[in-house]
C-alpha cells in the first residue's frame, strides 16, 4: 500500500501480487491462441478448395480468438481486471460503439460491391471470380 500514499484520491488498493505466475500463465495462453490462429490461417491456405462458408467459419473463429487475446492483454497485462467496477465500465462501455461502427461500415462496403456488380458491367467481367449468372440471387448480398 505504501506506493499509494502520494495520491489522496486513491483510497483503497490491493497489495501487489507476490509472484509472477499469473503473468507467465497469461503469456502461455496468448502464445497458444496465436499458434491456433496461425494454424487455422494456414489451413485455409493449404485447402483452398474448401467451400466458402467453411472459410467464413474459420475466419469467424479467428476473430473470436483475437478478441480472447485482447481480453487477456487488457485484463491481466494492463491490470484493468484488478480495478474497481466503475473504472472498468468507464473504459469498456464507450468501446461498445465499435459494435455499430464495424457492423454499419462492413454492411455499407458490401452494399457498394453489390451495386457495382449489378450496374458496372466492366467490374463484373473483369474482377469477379464467379460472375453473376442471370437469375442468380445469391451473389446480390443483403445490401442491394
Amino acid at each position: 500500500m505504501e506506493h499509494n500514499t502520494q495520491f489522496a484520491e486513491v483510497t483503497h488498493a490491493h497489495a501487489p501480487s507476490e509472484g509472477t505466475a499469473r503473468i507467465w500463465k497469461t503469456f502461455w495462453i496468448l502464445l497458444v491462441i496465436t499458434i491456433i490462429e496461425l494454424s487455422l490461417g494456414l489451413t485455409m491456405y493449404l485447402f483452398p478448395a474448401m467451400p466458402s462458408w467453411a472459410h467464413l467459419f474459420i475466419k469467424g473463429v479467428i476473430c473470436i480468438l483475437s478478441l480472447a487475446k485482447a481480453f487477456y492483454i487488457v485484463s491481466i497485462f494492463m491490470h484493468l481486471g484488478d480495478e474497481i467496477r466503475n473504472m472498468i465500465m468507464t473504459i469498456v462501455v464507450p468501446l461498445m460503439l465499435f459494435v455499430w461502427f464495424i457492423g454499419a461500415f462492413l454492411w455499407d462496403g458490401n452494399a457498394y460491391r453489390t451495386m457495382r456488380n449489378r450496374y458496372d458491367k466492366y467490374k463484373e467481367e473483369h474482377t469477379m471470380e464467379r460472375p453473376i449468372q442471370k437469375g442468380d440471387t445469391t451473389q446480390h448480398g443483403f445490401g442491394g
Partner: protein
C-alpha cells in the same frame, strides 16, 4: 485499517474520493488509449469497408510468404509470426517491469525495461525488413496486353488473380525490351549488361512463361491501407520505445526511488501493452483473414 474493521460497502460516488480509484495520470492514460483505439479502429474498419466493396482481394499467404535468409522459399506468415512473438514477449517483459516497480525493486525494473526496449527495437527492425522486401520485390504482372514487373507500393499491387498460360504467352509477344530483361533476370543469374545487349527474340526464348506465375494487378487500395496502418502502428511502437528509454533513464537516475513509487512505469506500461493490443488486430485484419 478501517476497511478491515468494518463491513460497510464503499460508496464510490459519495464524494471525497475518486469514483474510479486511480490517480489522475493513469485515468487520463486510459482515456487517451480509448480514443487511440477509435483512431486505429477507424483505419481498420475503413480497410474492411473497401475490402468488402471489392470482389477480389489478395490472399495474405501469397503476399507475406518470405523470410529473410530464405529467399525464394515459400513460407507463408512465418516472418509475421516471429514479429508477433517478439511483441508478445516484450509485453511480458514490460508487465514484469511494472511488477518489479510495485515491489520497489529498482534492479528488476532496469532489467525488464531494458529487455522491453530490445524487443521494441527488434520489432521495428523486422518491420523495416518487411517493408523493404515488399517495396523492392519484383513480380510479373499483366497490364493491358503486355507484361510488366512491379513491386508492392501505394499505387500498385502485383497480387491480382492468376493469368492463364495462353494469355500470358501472347502478352509476352507485346512486351518491350527493358521488361524482358527484368523478366529473364528473375530466374537467371546473368549480368544486366549482357541481357540488355540481347535481342527480344533471344530474351523471349529464355523465359518460361509457366514459371513466371503471371498475375493481374490487384486492388490499388491494398498498399495504402497496409503501409498506412502498419506504419501508424510502427510509429506507436517507435514512440513507445522512446517513452521506455525515458523511463529507463529516470529509473537509473533514481527519480522514482526519490518519489517513493514507480507508478510512472505503470503508465508507460499501459501504452506499451496498447501497442501490443493494436498489433493483435492488425495481425488479424492484414495477415490472418
Amino acid at each position: 485499517m478501517a476497511t478491515t474493521a468494518t463491513v460497510t460497502k464503499t460508496n464510490w460516488w459519495n464524494g471525497g474520493k475518486s469514483p474510479f480509484n486511480v490517480e489522475y495520470g493513469k485515468l487520463m492514460m486510459w482515456y487517451f488509449l480509448m480514443s487511440d483505439s477509435f483512431t486505429f479502429g477507424a483505419f481498420l474498419i475503413s480497410y474492411g469497408t473497401i475490402r468488402f466493396s471489392t470482389n477480389y482481394w489478395p490472399s495474405p499467404n501469397d503476399v507475406f510468404n518470405s523470410f529473410p535468409g530464405f529467399e525464394g522459399v515459400n513460407l507463408p506468415l512465418a516472418f509475421v509470426s516471429l514479429m508477433t512473438f517478439i511483441l508478445i514477449m516484450s509485453s511480458v517483459t514490460m508487465v514484469l517491469a511494472v511488477h518489479s516497480g510495485h515491489h520497489g525493486n529498482k534492479k528488476g525494473v532496469v532489467k525488464w525495461l531494458s529487455w522491453t526496449i530490445v524487443g521494441g527495437l527488434a520489432f521495428l527492425a523486422c518491420q523495416a525488413m518487411e517493408w523493404t522486401h515488399l517495396l523492392t520485390g519484383e513480380h510479373p504482372v499483366l497490364i493491358g496486353n503486355q507484361l510488366d514487373v512491379i513491386s508492392q507500393t501505394t499505387r500498385m499491387n502485383p497480387w491480382g488473380q492468376h493469368v492463364d498460360l495462353a494469355a500470358a504467352t501472347s502478352a509476352l509477344q507485346h512486351t518491350p525490351h527493358d521488361v524482358l530483361v527484368k523478366l529473364v533476370g528473375l530466374h537467371h543469374e546473368v549480368p544486366q549488361q549482357q541481357l540488355a545487349a540481347m535481342t527480344d527474340e533471344q530474351l523471349r526464348g529464355m523465359i518460361n512463361v509457366a514459371e513466371l506465375h503471371v498475375r493481374e494487378t490487384g486492388p490499388v487500395a491494398f498498399g495504402g491501407f497496409f503501409y498506412g496502418i502498419t506504419g501508424f502502428h510502427g510509429f506507436h511502437v517507435f514512440s513507445g520505445v522512446c517513452i521506455n528509454i525515458a523511463m529507463l533513464v529516470m529509473t537509473t537516475n533514481n527519480v522514482f526511488e526519490r518519489r517513493g513509487h514507480y507508478l510512472m512505469i505503470e503508465k508507460a506500461g499501459l501504452y506499451w501493452h496498447f501497442v501490443d493490443l493494436v498489433w493483435v488486430f492488425v495481425f488479424l485484419c492484414f495477415y490472418l483473414i
